[in-house]
Amino acid sequence: MRKKKKIGQYILMLEDDKNYGRVCKLKLEIEGYSVKVAETVADFFQELKFGLPDLILLDLMLQDQTGFEVLERIRRDPHLKKLRVIVYSSLGQAEDRERAQKLGAIDFLNKSEISLHQLVQEVKRHLDR
């Protein structure tokens, strides 16, 4: 049954796969979060001008840039650098995980292995801290 939506913490997601973004947004909204999905890097930084999210979900494999470049740009910007970012990728390589950690990502999720339930658990775990 669809739960009643409440105004919750704001999550901004950068995901260029429409279908993946849509299903994650739907699930997170059912759980009470307010979610926006940007499909391009330009839209993502535009959204950040309108308001800072409580959490960013960032895909590493994007069409126009890599998620690492986006993360580096976030960390270079004095207004954005403290934002909490969870990165995810369908390639869970150790070197990617290490690089993301060095750039201050608070978690690294494997896109092809994680369920929506697990995604919600991870988001909750970080936002409830």
Binding site: Y20, V23, K27, S112, I114, S115, Q121
Partner: protein, 242 residues
């Protein structure tokens, strides 16, 4: 005849193709999985029992297809691998810790605790072992999936005279002696493993052994039914700076 450089280029093209193909095939299957998860969870409204049962089957098959693609791509990559590839040294401890972090969710799902032991303490292990991460992931996920709730999956890295030993132990269903001999073959799955977890491809340990052989290492298994299993890999000194 193809030159060394041409072969190298072909290897790079093949690897890139496998990576892109894997990503492209997995993406729609993954989205199917997530949408089914929402429907089955009742997130989108009530679902009748018959529809639910049928969709649960679809979800199971979708997960199986995803796992099979992973294993087939790994096995295909094995069959065409070039010889004498220069492998950079990697920090084994760092890689294992990363994998444990990644497997935290799976372990929680199965009610299994993961324990990592390093002997001696402070050991540094730089190893030249291509696909080391894949090997550890495979063994550790088995140690979680074929374990029992409340039990431990233990991963241990030890320095021994002239070699490095990695062992992965579970306290699970175990493997019958007759099955232990066939375990590293292609498409083999033990009867009790199929009953316990129906979705495996029977390629995981074949892939693991092929990688370990490629390192010049050795892999062995010791197991007692319903007591647990330990897989042990020994890596010669020349492949490891310890």
């Amino acid at each position: 005849m193809a030159s060394k450089n041409n072969l190298k280029d072909l290897e790079a093209i093949k690897n890139n193709f496998l990576m892109v193909a894997s990503h492209q095939i997995k993406t729609p299957l993954n989205i199917i999985k997530l949408n089914l998860e929402m429907i089955l969870n009742g997130d989108l409204g009530r679902v009748g029992k018959a529809v639910k049962n049928s969709l649960a089957e679809v979800a199971k098959m979708d997960t199986k297809a995803l796992e099979l693609i992973n294993d087939f791509l790994n096995a295909a990559a094995l069959g065409t691998r070039g010889q004498a590839k220069k492998t950079p040294a990697v920090d084994a401890i760092k890689i294992i810790k990363g994998i444990i972090e990644e497997m935290r969710i799976l372990a929680k799902q199965y009610g299994v605790k993961i324990n990592f032991i390093i002997e001696p303490k402070g050991l540094k292990a730089m190893i030249k072992a291509d696909n080391f991460e894949e090997v550890v992931k495979n063994l550790l996920s088995n140690a979680i999936k074929y374990n029992r709730p409340g039990k431990t999956a233990e991963i241990k890295l030890e320095k021994l005279p002239g070699k490095l030993r990695l062992s992965v132990r579970d306290e699970g269903i175990g493997i019958a002696p007759a099955d232990q001999k066939k375990l590293f073959g292609k498409f083999f799955r033990a009867d009790n493993a199929m009953k316990h977890a129906t979705d495996g491809s029977g390629l995981g340990l074949y892939i693991v052994k092929s990688y370990v052989d490629g390192w010049g290492g050795k892999i062995s298994v010791a197991s007692q039914k319903n007591q647990g299993t330990v897989f042990t890999i020994e890596l010669p000194q020349k492949q490891a700076k310890i």
